[in-house]
Symmetry: none
Subunit: 197 residues, 4 copies
DNA sequence: TGCTAATCGAGACGGTACGTCTAGTCTTTTT
DNA sequence: AAAAAGACTAGACGTACCGTCTCGATTAGCA
């Protein structure tokens, strides 16, 4: 931040101060100017870093975005002993996290970038798989408690939850009332078919 | 396409040939170069049109994308008399459509564009709402047949289906086997909870 | 100069105001920052022009330099009726011109550029030939007056004079006293050999 | 060249192997890539040397160029007992030397560099003066033999010869036939004026 | 023998400029 | 009035070099 005079090389190895400054700048630019204003130039300017320093460590905008996203604090996954509350709580926390921190902007941008950048797409897939298995854990716990049928594919169900989250994020609808989320989770858990069918 | 010598003004009104050429070029560019290569410049070059001609009729990249998407043949919504088959069929058709035509590329691009362009976001929301009400129709039909509980929010359930479709599109997973789709739809209809809970 | 707001396109043809502004800026940059500071970026900045506008009309730094040089007022070639006075006057005028205007900087830069740019080298050769034939005219006139042996190669003699001028320019010695120039011209006209040899 | 593993420090003093490797690399780069491709970076890469090692001993590109030039074998100055043959021989040898070795490239580059680097200009002037006094020796010898008028300024005449050489070098005309050189030298020695004037 | 000091290769650093691409605006000419 | 054409300013792209810096290893000469 306030360190004037500028950062220098610390020898033939990566300067963590520079890396830090760049990641912080990237996040700030994203928050302030959005994905449209997110350019390597802008990040370099903001971080008082040279463009080559950025390109040296992050070969693409996507790589930078991904690392910025990874640095974010993770959202809490509640454990209430009840599947519905767990899932509703998870989604509520996630939406609040995306709304109130820069995470939402960052992740949206990452998804957008992945639509034109092969590497970003791959990174996103890999990253997403990891996250989903995390979410699937909620369902596995419920399975262990006997709340969920044993033959349910937890990963697939988790994917469904994530899909909903993605779409809300991408369409700027992170402020759904909890009731709506609960209804949605209700459909997933209880189904929409009439009993007896 | 092949009209040489170049199109000319046809007087004080929109030249439908130009509009057509531009939309076709936009689609072609998207298919051949992807969203990354999709620029007004490239479309103008391909369509042998001036950039201002494009900007006159489509104020943004998003508007052009949206119209290209709207021109696409719609996907069939089957009516089998059975909710599960209807939904599985719908998703299968949609994935095939996205896979086999340019629609997938176009829609992906539109979503990406909406992440940095306010107008695109609005257009996408509006468009999506229309589409969802269409999908919701499938559920309403099932409700009428008594397959679905009367108090189910068909729009929300439709949104859930759409969410899944979006995520598969955005993560390049349009080739899921029908069994997976059916399992997913099964969770939505029957829920994942154990009977009696 | 003072025209704010900035220049705009004047339709599908070259804007002479831009060309003018760029050439003036190029000259100014060269005078103020020298060849070392002469970059397309700097010229664009100074001229409030886009880089592509410069590259559109001048494919290389050399082309720009050459045009800047050509725009300069030409140096007077005196006609005193006497060969020695003509040549001394020509060189004195040339040195003064190079010293007192930007021409010297520009031409030096052009020669330097030609050492690394093939196109510049070609342009310089072509341009130089034209100039030398001009200088050779002085000698041809003297030949016509009978001052010079008929079989003298005027072009070669002119080249010799030009060589001296180049070297003085390139080594920052444009302030030689006229006596030195006259001595040098004397050697060319009268030779350095003892009479009778 | 082939010394693997790399050179190391040999203690608190200059490593002559490194100096040698750098000078050789500089020459090689200049020959292979020309002045345009001659960068400290490229020399360091080629020499397997660190950039600071180069900067430590040669503060500028010019200094490096100058030392490379000085290392070159000097051109022979013939002593035929006849002024014209001496000068023609000298120029012929010089042109051949510049053509057939890397000297030409190096010296051209040095002159070019001197147009934007003050230090290079100074070095070039100093070096040139030394060389000219050498060339002037030819004329002094002729003066001693009585071939040349006693009041002739040998240094100035030598400068004129050097000027011609520079210009031929800088304009890529080192392949002039000896006849042309002889004609040029003839003008210098005998003048171009008609006898009796 | 152990310490100091200078040098080495290596490579990162903040910067500047390169030449290309696209954005979005503008004007003229043609229909 | 609208089309084509293409120029305009602006600024981002990703790369190459600039000259400086710090590192860790190396070795000579001084203590």
């Amino acid at each position: 931040m306030g360190e004037d005079p500028a950062r220098r090389s610390i020898g033939a190895r990566r300067n963590p101060d520079s890396a830090e400054a760049i990641l912080e700048a990237a996040e700030a630019v994203l928050v302030e100017a959005g994905y449209a204003g997110f350019s390597i130039e802008a990040v370099a300017r903001r971080a008082r870093a040279g463009k080559p320093t950025i390109y040296r460590w992050w070969p693409s905008k996507a790589a930078l975005l991904l690392e910025v996203y990874k640095r974010q604090k993770r959202v809490d996954v509640p454990d209430t002993g009840n599947l519905e509350d767990d899932l509703v709580g998870f989604l509520s926390n996630l939406f609040a996290h995306w709304r109130d921190t820069s995470s939402g902007s960052v992740f949206r941008s990452l998804i957008a970038e992945a639509q034109s950048d092969e590497a970003a797409a791959a990174a996103l897939t890999g990253y997403g798989d990891g996250r989903h298995s995390h979410t699937a854990g909620i369902i596995e716990r419920a399975k262990a408690r006997g709340e969920v049928t044993a033959d349910v594919d937890a990963a697939l169900a988790a994917e469904l939850v994530a899909s909903y989250a993605w779409k809300q994020l991408l369409t700027n609808r992170l402020d759904e009332p909890e009731a709506t989320i609960r209804k949605m989770i209700g459909y997933l858990i209880g189904g929409i078919a009439r009993n007896g069918l």
